[in-house]
Symmetry: C2
Subunit: 210 residues, 2 copies
C-alpha cells in the first residue's frame, strides 16, 4: 500500500506566508508608502499579480501584516513578579523587554511607524498596550501595597518610564552610536542595570536622604 496522499486542501503553497514575511520586513524598514508591491513581490519571489491574488489590495496586505505583528507583540512585556530585590527585578524586566524588542524587531518597528504616522492608536492601545501595560502597572501597584515601593509615586508613570527607557533606547541607538558621551550605546547590559538602579534608588546622595 502506498502512503496515503496528503489531502490536496492541506498542500498549501507557502507563497502567502512568504509574501507576509517579506512585507513585514519591508514595511517595518521603510513604512507603508515607501514600500512598493513590486519590491515585496521581488523579495518574496512571486509575481506582483500573485500578491493581488492572496490579498485584495496593498492596504489589505498591510493590515494583515499589522494584525499578525500585533499578535506577536502581545507578550512584549515580561511579568515583573520575580524574586529578588527590586533593583534586580527591574533590571531583569528591562533586559527582557529590550531582548523582546530586538527579537521581534520588525513588529516593533511597525508599531513605531504606526505611532508616528498611523491612525490605529486605539487598536494599538487595546492589543499591545492593553494587557501588557495593565499587568505591569498591577505588579507595581501590588509592590506598592506590600511596602516595597513608597507611596506617592504613580505606578502608571513608573511603568511608562520603564517602557520608554527600553523603547527609546532602541529608537535612538543608531544616533547614540555617533554620540561620544553615550558610551552606554554599545553596552545594553550596563544601560539596563543603570536604569534599574536609577529608578530604584534615585539620584540623591546618601547623606541627603530623609
Amino acid at each position: 500500500m502506498s502512503p496515503a496522499p496528503v489531502p490536496a486542501a492541506t498542500v498549501y503553497s507557502d507563497a502567502r506566508a512568504r509574501i507576509l514575511a517579506a512585507a513585514q520586513r519591508l514595511f517595518a524598514e521603510s513604512g507603508y508608502d515607501s514600500t512598493s508591491i513590486s519590491r515585496v513581490a521581488q523579495s518574496a519571489g512571486v509575481s506582483k499579480a500573485n500578491i493581488f491574488h492572496h490579498f485584495s489590495s496593498k492596504q489589505d496586505l498591510y493590515l494583515e501584516v499589522l494584525h499578525e505583528s500585533r499578535s506577536h507583540l502581545e507578550n512584549l512585556f515580561d511579568d515583573l513578579k520575580l524574586s529578588g530585590d527590586l533593583t534586580q527585578r527591574l533590571a531583569r524586566f528591562l533586559d527582557r523587554h529590550l531582548t523582546s524588542i530586538y527579537e521581534r524587531e520588525a513588529g516593533f518597528r511597525l508599531l513605531l511607524h504606526e505611532m508616528l504616522t498611523g491612525e490605529q492608536h486605539e487598536a494599538i492601545a487595546k492589543r499591545v498596550g492593553g494587557d501588557n501595560f495593565r499587568r505591569l502597572v498591577a505588579n507595581l501597584r501590588a509592590a506598592q501595597q506590600q511596602g516595597d515601593v513608597r507611596t506617592g509615586v504613580d505606578p502608571a508613570v513608573v511603568a511608562f518610564v520603564l517602557v520608554a527607557a527600553s523603547a527609546f533606547f532602541y529608537l535612538s541607538r543608531p544616533v547614540l552610536r555617533h554620540t561620544p558621551e553615550a558610551e552606554f550605546a554599545d553596552r545594553p547590559d550596563h544601560y539596563v542595570q543603570q536604569v534599574a538602579d536609577l529608578i530604584t534608588f534615585g539620584l540623591r546622595s546618601v547623606e541627603e536622604r530623609s
Copy 2:
C-alpha cells in the same frame, strides 16, 4: 518726491519660504514618500513647477527642510543649571523640554522620522544631539562632583532617560489617551513632576533606605 522704491533685489518673493514651511509641515506629518510635491504646492499656494525652480529636486527640498529643522532644534534642551533643589530642577528641565518639543513639533517629528527610517544618524548626532546632550551630561556630572548626585550613577544614562521620558511621552501620547491606566496622558504637569520625583528619590520605601 515720491518715496524711494524698495531695491528690486530685496523685493524677494516669499514663495520659497512658503514652500519650505508647507513642506516641513507635510513631511513632518507623513514622512518623505507619503508627501507629494503636488500637495506641497497646493499647501504653499504655488505651482508644482515653481517648487522645482527653487529646489532642484524633491530630495533637495527635503534636505533643506531637514537642515532648517535641525538648526531650530539646537536649543531643544534647556540648561539644567537652575537654582533650587534637585527634584524641582529636574521637573523644570523636563517641563521645558516637553514644551520645546510641542513648540517645535514639526521639526521634532522630522527628527523621529529620520531616526526611524533615515540614514542621517551621524548628522543628527552632531547637530541635534551634540551640544544639547553634551551640556546636559556636563551639568549632571558637575552636580555629581558637588555631591548633589551620588557616585555610581552614569550621568550619560541619566541624561538619556530624561530625554527619553519626554520624547517617548510625546510619541506615545495618542496611544496613551486610549489606555485607561495611563491617566497621566492628559496631565503633563503631573507626569513631569512624577518623573522628576522618581529619578531624584527612586522607588524604594523610606524605611528600606540604607
